[in-house]
Symmetry: C2
Subunit: 440 residues, 2 copies
């Protein structure tokens, strides 16, 4: 018995030592884990060949033959990384990796590979290829997380976050009938991608079905580049509101109507454009306000504009702030119309009325992991919409930004440096590993 007891104790001690050793090795191995930057950047380069046009841009519009071919390439890469790959009814490509504890909800990450017409090579691809590279890195290093992991390459992000809307249960039959940039409806497009548009409702997941959703993306703005910061920790995705302001004067003959008898609607409209800029900039913070559309009617060189319509867009993380700024702009518009003796009509159009806030604890983990990797960070809002915005409806969400050259996006000149891309992928990798430990 004593011998047995001793044996048992030695055995236990040995087991404990081995366990501690293994754990330490494993922890050390996980901390030093890095994606393969060369492999990541070369797969990104390979992806960019699908749909490259002669202006240097990408015509990989969702549902196009380029989109279809590129998706086949991604599926191959996912299979190489030992993922279980499937295409859901909405056409999303899903690559799964089992976790040690399959009763846990999955940690999900990914992005999209479709582009706007004549778009760039980085917008969705950086997040998509990094997600696959992370899976490959985990497989290569035999790292098995507690949580199941899932990469999602979303269907048609640029044409209205179609795939992510399906996953959060917000893609209805009416939306499926909208014609996308490729000239076919989402219904037809999803079929072309191997989905089944009649059954998209079945891909919807409930709140709590996903442990966390993460997306790596280029900033599409110039903040990180200007501040020389390597990693952006996204605070949330802004709310967007649109209004149309129409100043009504009197169209008249540009030759026969004396200057002092005109009701030229372009004059208060021009003052309005300048006032929008001045008012939006007078507030502290990251809000933006834009007049992107101006239409002068009748729009002839020899006729005084009788009516001018302007589109006003305001974006901010706070809906309250958007409306506060708007009130000031509206008052200014009314006073301009009044001073000019003109009618002003205003209509409001909902675009994205609620901001999608990132999860606070995920934001902290992203910042910590970036610091552990020796990278500088900046908290900032995302002024653009993303699949993460939809996913935030059902899961704690986090987004990581990397610098974009000159803040250019949706254009052939879009560019992020290979090192910046690897930095982003490594922060995403370690955020996943950290969440795997902290989440239940």
């Amino acid at each position: 018995m004593k011998i047995n007891l001793l044996h048992k104790m030695i055995s236990r001690l040995l087991f404990l030592s081995a366990f501690l050793l293994l754990t330490q090795v494993s922890l050390h191995a996980q901390t030093s884990l890095r994606v393969n930057s060369d492999r990541l950047n070369s797969s990104l380069k390979e992806l960019s060949t699908f749909g490259k046009n002669d202006r240097g841009g990408s015509d990989r519009v969702a549902y196009s033959s380029h989109d279809v071919a590129a998706r086949a390439y991604l599926i191959e890469l996912m299979k190489k990384a030992d993922l279980a790959v499937s295409i859901d009814f909405a056409g999303n490509i899903i690559g799964k990796k089992l976790g040690l504890n399959e009763t846990l909800k999955p940690i999900v990450f990914g992005s999209h590979i479709d582009e706007v017409p004549n778009g760039g090579d980085y917008d969705g691809p950086v997040g998509s290829m990094s997600a696959i590279e992370i899976m490959q890195t985990l497989t290569d290093n035999k790292v098995i997380t507690n949580h199941p992991l899932e990469v999602i390459i979303f269907t048609n992000e640029e044409g209205g976050v179609v795939g992510s809307r399906a996953i959060v249960g917000e893609l209805n039959e009416k939306a499926l009938q909208i014609v996308s940039n490729e000239g076919i409806t989402h219904y037809e497009g999803i079929k072309k991608l191997g989905g089944n548009p009649d059954r998209v409702a079945e891909v919807a997941r409930k709140k709590g079905d996903i442990a966390a959703f993460l997306e790596l993306h280029i900033e599409q703005g110039g903040n990180l580049e200007r501040e020389k910061i390597q990693i952006g920790v996204v605070e949330g995705i802004v709310a967007i509101e649109w209004w149309q302001f129409t100043f009504k004067g009197m169209a008249n003959h540009a030759g026969t109507t004396p200057m002092n008898m005109r009701k030229d609607a372009l004059l208060p409209a021009a003052e309005f454009v300048l006032a929008v800029n001045q008012i939006v900039r007078s507030y502290e913070g990251a809000q933006v306000g834009t007049v992107g559309i101006i239409k002068a009617s009748p729009g002839a060189g020899n006729v005084i504009p009788g009516e001018v319509m302007l589109n006003l867009e305001i974006r901010d993380l706070s809906s309250e702030k958007i409306w506060k700024i708007y009130q000031e702009i509206e008052a200014k518009g009314k006073s301009l119309a009044n001073d000019a003796g003109m009618e002003l009509t205003i209509t409001h159009q909902e675009v994205a009325s609620s901001p999608a806030m990132a999860d606070d604890s995920i934001r902290k983990i992203i910042a910590e992991q970036a610091k552990n990797l020796g990278l500088t960070t900046l908290s900032l809002p995302s002024g653009a919409g993303h699949d993460a915005q939809e996913m935030a409806r059902i899961a704690p969400m986090g987004m990581i930004f990397i610098p974009s050259k000159s803040g250019i996006s949706h254009a052939p000149a879009e560019y992020s440096a290979p090192d910046a891309i690897a930095n982003g992928a490594n922060v995403l990798l370690h955020t996943i590993l950290s969440l795997d430990k902290s989440l239940k």
Copy 2:
């Protein structure tokens, strides 16, 4: 012999007395001559029924079936007035009345009856129907002038002064191939009106072929109404110049591009619109400057305008003044672009590079005859183009304006009062009679 001599003297005396009496009666009769206002205004009203649409406007576009039918109505009126009516190869309707001295060149007057789409009832019709009414008045009162008289109802004034260009020899084959508002070429249109487009060159008249050209027209502006003046004595028809200003900034994402990193081309463009107005108004005189076209590209609510094109038009009786004002606007445009760090491109487009000045002695006669009729006058430029502008190339030209309600033209609300129309016709009548005496 004595008796014979006495007889001869008495006979001569009687002849002289009779001659003086006749002359005085004739002079008195001519001075008190007036058009029949009721007949004039009712024929105008009848003309307005041709092409009246359900918005109260006139669709009597040149070459339309309404135009063709209305022309037939006018030809009937001209025949009733004992005119020798013909249609020339360019489709102009010409009504001639013999003079006492057929070796003299004709005094010509007239206007047009075609309208812009959904136009008004007064623009060309007032001058056209008054010309016919004057001929009828002369015939009714058995007044025969020394000079032959000619009424011309010009082909397609609104679509590019087609008929008057033919008469001054400026309508070439290329111009005939242009498609007009009716959707057919001038070539086809002229055929439809009974002209022969292959022979338009033959209608050209030389400088000196016409003793004087006169046109009565509504002001198409608000000067006379505002000043409560009955007759406008046109100084000339303004020169017109167009320029396109294009500010080039950088199109970018309206959500992700911070306010202080934008190159929004709409901002200097808005400043430019205001500067044009301010600069044009800073000069003394009747010059006008208009930005009637503004195009922001790409023109989406969520994209910062990367490029904005504006059309600048300046009109004045003095080309020198136009270019002086332009130089100041150009300098301002360049400084706005420079301050915004943007490129500015400017292109120039000739519209009507030379003003068409009215003949000084005809202007004086118009003013005198108006005063004799107890009417108030104002000298003013014509900011709009007219057939008279073309006719001024080959003949001494005079134009008479009458007030337009609220300065509206080229619209259903176009209106001139019956009395104002009769006033204009009477001034035209007496200007013709006076010129008949003063011209050789």
